[in-house]
């Protein structure tokens, strides 16, 4: 039998109540082994308190060529940031 183990993307939640974050990928025959391997490969120094693994083939990514249409429209909407508005000092903290 000649079959390469599928690729999994690994997400780790760090110690501080943060989101799971993508840390890398690895090969494993199934989800259970992927978690076991992720423990050994990505958390040898207590980098996490929780692991997600997702088959890489299940990830849909935006195309690099779509960067313009997807993200450019946000560029001229600076009013979405609170610092856009000047509030007089007299009003106090807001």
């Amino acid at each position: 039998m000649k079959k390469e183990w599928p690729l999994w993307e690994v997400f780790i939640r760090g110690q501080h109540g943060l989101n799971h974050r993508h840390v890398g990928s690895l090969h494993a025959p199934d989800a259970e082994m992927a978690i076991n391997n992720a423990r050994d490969v990505y958390t040898r120094r207590k980098e996490g308190v929780s692991i997600w693994v997702v088959p890489s083939s299940e990830i849909t990514a935006s195309k690099p060529s779509d960067k313009g249409p997807l993200f450019d429209p946000a560029e001229d909407k600076v009013y979405r940031h609170p610092t856009f508005f000047d509030i007089p000092d007299d009003v106090g903290h807001m």
């Binding site: 079959k3 390469e4 199934d30 082994m33």
Partner: protein
């Protein structure tokens, strides 16, 4: 280095297509290149060779040290060495994953290592004869690797740079544990001090070879530097390594095996003797003291593990079929 004499494919500046010119402009502006983005075929191929060779070095690099796990002098040293060797496996895996984002499969990379089509660093073809060699490897070999890997954290290819960041965080432990072994040996009995000196004698020049031959005339090197997949010349890194390592050897009371080693006031650097480059090329050609043993051990581990990999695959397939059947029955 862990990647030595990587051949680089690239056109000359005059031949650049508009796409290639735009690509180079992104690199010059310090942008990272990510897997699905357009890249010149030469950039992709060169990186597969370089990251692949780097990964192979981490994996084969486990062997000279694995050799001493069962013979470590104390339980603590044994646990530490085990952790270090496990780190090397991890580093190999980070790098293989980075290489795979360029469109090469893990099995292809393994096949190329096992058939000798891809190389690993020359340093791992030297034998580890005494416990002091574990000290010398951590101190000198990992030390030399760090010289190269720290600047590579800024390399232009995103997945490679991120793997390097992770590796560098862990590598400092490796060098310090090596130096700690050397300190213990150098301050031990006369016999231990002699072992430490002997390890330095044998690993000094092979460590200098890790950076590869002088690349001032190399075209490959210039292209790789333009692409920011090589950040410094081999000579720059070798000089930096000598400058940092000599005082560390002095602190240990050990003698660097180079009678012509001397501080050059004008240059602000040490002058030192180049390693024997004929020996280096012989080792690369497969004629080093341990080439056959190292590659043999690697191929044997892969072949002997085939039934286990297949077994886990068979179990995964069976479990998936069972889940599917249960789902169909429920519907």
């Amino acid at each position: 280095m862990y990647a030595q004499m990587v051949k680089s494919d690239g056109p000359s500046d005059a031949e650049l297509s508009p796409e290639e010119r735009a690509f180079q402009a992104r690199i010059d502006a310090g942008e990272k290149i990510e897997p699905k983005e357009w890249m010149p075929e030469g950039y992709r191929k060169t990186l597969i060779r370089q990251i692949g060779q780097h990964a192979h070095s981490e994996i084969v690099g486990q062997l000279p040290e694995g050799n001493w796990i069962t013979r470590a002098p104390t339980l603590e040293r044994k646990a530490i060495l085990l952790a270090k060797v496990q780190d090397e496996a991890g580093h190999g895996l980070y790098l293989y994953s980075a290489a795979e984002t360029l469109g090469v499969s893990r099995d292809e990379l393994f096949e190329k290592l096992h058939s000798g089509k891809m190389k690993y660093s020359s340093i791992f073809n030297y034998p580890t004869l005494s416990w002091a060699d574990m000290g010398a490897i951590g101190w000198l070999v990992d030390g030399a690797a760090i010289m190269n890997q720290v600047p590579l954290q800024r390399t232009s290819y995103g997945p490679y740079a991120r793997a390097m960041v992770r590796i560098c965080k862990e590598e400092s432990f490796h060098q310090r544990q090596g130096y700690s072994i050397m300190m213990k040996m150098a301050r031990g009995t006369e016999a231990q001090r002699e072992m430490a000196q002997d390890a330095l004698n044998r690993f000094w020049y092979p460590s200098l070879m890790m950076f590869g031959p002088s690349d001032k005339d190399s075209v490959h090197s210039a292209q790789s530097m333009a692409w920011k997949i090589k950040m410094n010349t081999n000579d720059e890194l070798r000089q930096k390594f000598v400058d940092e390592t000599v005082p560390q050897a002095e602190y240990l009371g050990l003698t660097v095996p180079d009678p012509d080693l001397s501080w050059n006031e004008d240059r602000g650097h040490y002058d030192f003797t180049q390693p024997d480059w004929d020996e280096f090329f012989e080792v690369l050609r497969g004629n080093g003291p341990c080439n056959e043993e190292r590659l043999g051990a690697r191929v044997k581990a892969w072949d002997d593990g085939a039934w286990f990999r297949d077994g886990l695959n068979a179990y995964a397939d069976k479990a998936a079929a069972r889940r599917l059947a249960a789902k169909t029955a429920a519907e």
